[in-house]
């Protein structure tokens, strides 16, 4: 094991197809690398799984937001109509819950949708204007037609020369050093 170099974020292999990056990612996992990330211009099925990321918290956050919206929406109407501003209309019940359903429904959707979006962004740590991978010039093509696999230098198995050789062995078309310097 070599001393991790502070100025290097990691090594980046460049691939041209989803199959190539899937293969490279699973090989990297097999080789025992832990700090791997993969970049693609569109979602590649199975890639998150291949780099060891099976579950996302987004659905749970969405459920929570939806419940909060639902209870909050109904609670707001109940509190307004029955507690703080009760109006007696010919003795009709103050808690006329069927009339509260549309707003409760809308608030449920609003709560769930907002938390899905904000939850997704927050878990992804976005907005994040700077990231070391942007230091690689060719990485601009990650949003067009290239696929990248990054093995980070903090990985215990990381070794500059050997990891570069590993990336070449899984058919990376180019291997780039990702510098940490801003």
């Amino acid at each position: 094991m070599t001393e991790p170099r502070q100025d290097i974020y990691g090594l980046m292999g460049e691939f041209v197809s989803p199959e190539e990056i899937l293969h490279a990612a699973s090989e990297a996992r097999k080789a025992g690398f832990k700090y791997i990330s993969a970049y693609s211009p569109f979602p590649v099925e199975g890639l998150a799984h291949a780099i060891g990321f099976p579950k996302t918290g987004v659905p749970r956050i969405t459920l929570l937001g939806g419940l909060l919206g639902c209870l909050g929406g109904f609670g707001l109407q109940y509190w307004c109509s029955a507690i703080t501003y009760p109006i007696n209309v010919a003795g009709r019940p103050l808690n006329s819950w069927p009339a509260f359903i549309p707003v409760t429904f809308e608030m449920t959707i609003l709560g769930a949708a907002t938390s899905a979006v904000i939850g997704m962004l927050a878990l992804n740590l976005l907005p994040q204007p700077y990231h070391p991978v942007f230091n690689v010039e060719r990485f601009a093509r990650a949003t067009t037609d290239r696929f990248f696999l990054v093995i980070e230098s903090r990985d215990p198995k990381f070794h500059l020369a050997e990891t570069a050789r590993f990336l070449q062995s899984v058919h990376a078309h180019h291997v780039h050093e990702v510098s940490n310097a801003e």
Partner: protein
């Protein structure tokens, strides 16, 4: 694909047009769509179209300024016809705003591949239509600067909104719809904004797209959460889109006015909304694909499918009209019967017959495949349907209000110059926003098109 098969071995099934013409790569779809925004200079057509719509927006501003100065008396509304053009236009615009989310959410859940190249601008259209719709109830209140009274907030007066009123439901439904549509649109745009950031030619573009793309870098972790969130949003937007026009129809159906108080309203309003929305998508898609040479992405398959959806929803609307008449006579309620007769023989009967012509009779031509494949005919048809849907709202609002229960409460309605100028102004606003949109943001979802390229190449490999 290239090997030529003998004709007699061709399968009997009629070949569908592709959703994406063959021969594209990840890079070439990206280039073609991004070029519209990044490199192409604005064409003369764009400048002319933008200028005309910009002038109409000025007309809108003048109309609104005059309205705020003088009050709603400048419109044709009176007692008993308190709901004139403002509500007609509101319902019309919000209906148009339904197709975007329908295409994005429902067709996504149904895994319809043809949605990919039209969902982005259909969503944009939704947002702009909802923005136009939102103006009308606001100015119709008479004192738009007091509109915040409709929101529940702890005021010093100690009063709260009446949550049993459909008008308050409407506030929540429309504002939720606008918010969720905006988020859905933004989430879809995120990877494409990153594409534009990485391809931007100058510093200004880089900074602007850089800010809005939030540092998206297409990491597999990101995509994983992104897809999860997108699927959830689609699932949430589906009941939402159906609920919005349902709630709008409650504005009418909960009232006891003859012609409004019917249970058919919610489904028939939703069908009408989708009908007019698809018509508007066609109205926009046909010039867009022509002007920017996007015929390979928005193919005949898309136009054909949209025409079919229009035909289907048009038939549901026709059923709604039929049931209205049937229920009026079947119920034996003399006020309902009278109103039905008023539609046919009353002072506004020409609106009703024009509506039947536009919404029911003309679209029957869409049964003919030749018409569905004729781009010019489809364009005209989409304009006819949009006119028809506007007439439908006019018939619902005005005929019912002019013929209430008491003959002493009968009245007449005619729109004034300011009614027309405000309406024309919102059309200008809508068109201007569309013009700005196609120049500033990718009108077709690039990342999704790349997936389509992948699928196309996979399906080609699978063929023997």
């Amino acid at each position: 694909m290239s090997d030529i098969e003998p004709v007699e071995h061709q399968p009997e099934i009629r070949r569908l047009d592709p959703v994406l013409e063959p021969g594209y790569t990840y890079a070439s779809v990206t280039d073609k769509i991004a070029a519209v925004v990044l490199t192409r200079p604005p064409s003369m057509g764009w400048i002319a179209g933008f200028s005309v719509s910009f002038c109409l927006v000025m007309v809108l501003f003048v109309s609104l300024a005059w309205l705020i100065t003088k009050g709603v008396g400048i419109w044709g509304i009176n007692i008993p016809i308190g709901w004139g053009f403002a509500i007609v236009n509101f319902v019309w615009w919000i209906g148009i705003g339904h197709a975007g989310t329908l295409i994005s959410a429902i067709l996504f859940l149904l895994n319809q591949k043809w949605r990919t190249s039209i969902n982005r601008f259909a969503e944009a259209m939704t947002l702009f239509a909802v923005a136009c719709a939102g103006i009308f109830p606001l100015i119709h209140t008479g004192r738009p600067w007091m509109a915040y009274y409709m929101m529940p907030y702890p005021s010093t007066m100690g009063i709260w909104p009446q949550f049993r009123s459909p008008l308050i439901w409407d506030v929540f439904a429309v504002s939720t719809y606008a918010t969720v549509s905006l988020m859905f649109w933004f989430v879809g745009l995120l990877p494409d904004l990153a594409t534009l950031r990485d391809r931007a030619k100058n510093r200004t573009q880089q900074v602007i797209y850089g800010i809005f793309s939030m540092g998206w870098r297409g990491s597999a972790h990101h995509w994983h959460r992104y897809q999860s969130a997108y699927l959830l949003l689609a699932g949430l937007a589906t009941p939402l889109v159906l609920s919005v026009h349902t709630v709008v129809s409650f504005d009418f159906a909960v009232a006891i006015v003859p012609g409004w108080h019917t249970t058919i309203f919610p489904p028939y309003f939703v069908a009408g909304a989708i009908y007019s929305g698809f018509a508007m998508v066609l109205t926009l898609a046909i010039p867009l694909r022509k002007a920017y040479g996007l015929e390979d992405f928005i193919t005949m398959r898309h136009l054909d499918n949209m025409a079919k959806v229009m035909l289907a929803t048009g038939m549901i609307v026709a059923y709604g009209y039929a049931i209205e008449f049937f229920m009026a006579f079947y119920s034996g309620n003399k006020f309902d019967v009278f109103l039905a007769e008023q539609r046919l023989h009353g002072p506004y009967s020409h609106f009703y017959f024009a509506l039947i012509l536009c919404n029911i009779l003309t679209p029957q031509l869409l049964w003919i495949e030749k018409v569905r494949r004729n781009v010019a005919a489809l364009f005209v048809m989409s304009l006819v349907v949009n006119t028809g849907m506007w007439l439908e709202r006019f018939v619902i609002v005005v005929i019912s209000l002019t013929r209430d229960y008491m003959p002493s409460a009968w009245g007449r309605y005619s729109a004034t110059f300011w009614d027309y100028s405000t309406f024309a102004g919102t059309i200008g606003l809508f068109v201007m926003l569309i013009f700005l949109f196609v120049r500033a943001l990718p009108a077709i979802a690039i990342a999704e098109m790349r997936e389509l390229v992948l699928e196309q190449s996979e399906s080609r490999e699978e063929k023997p």
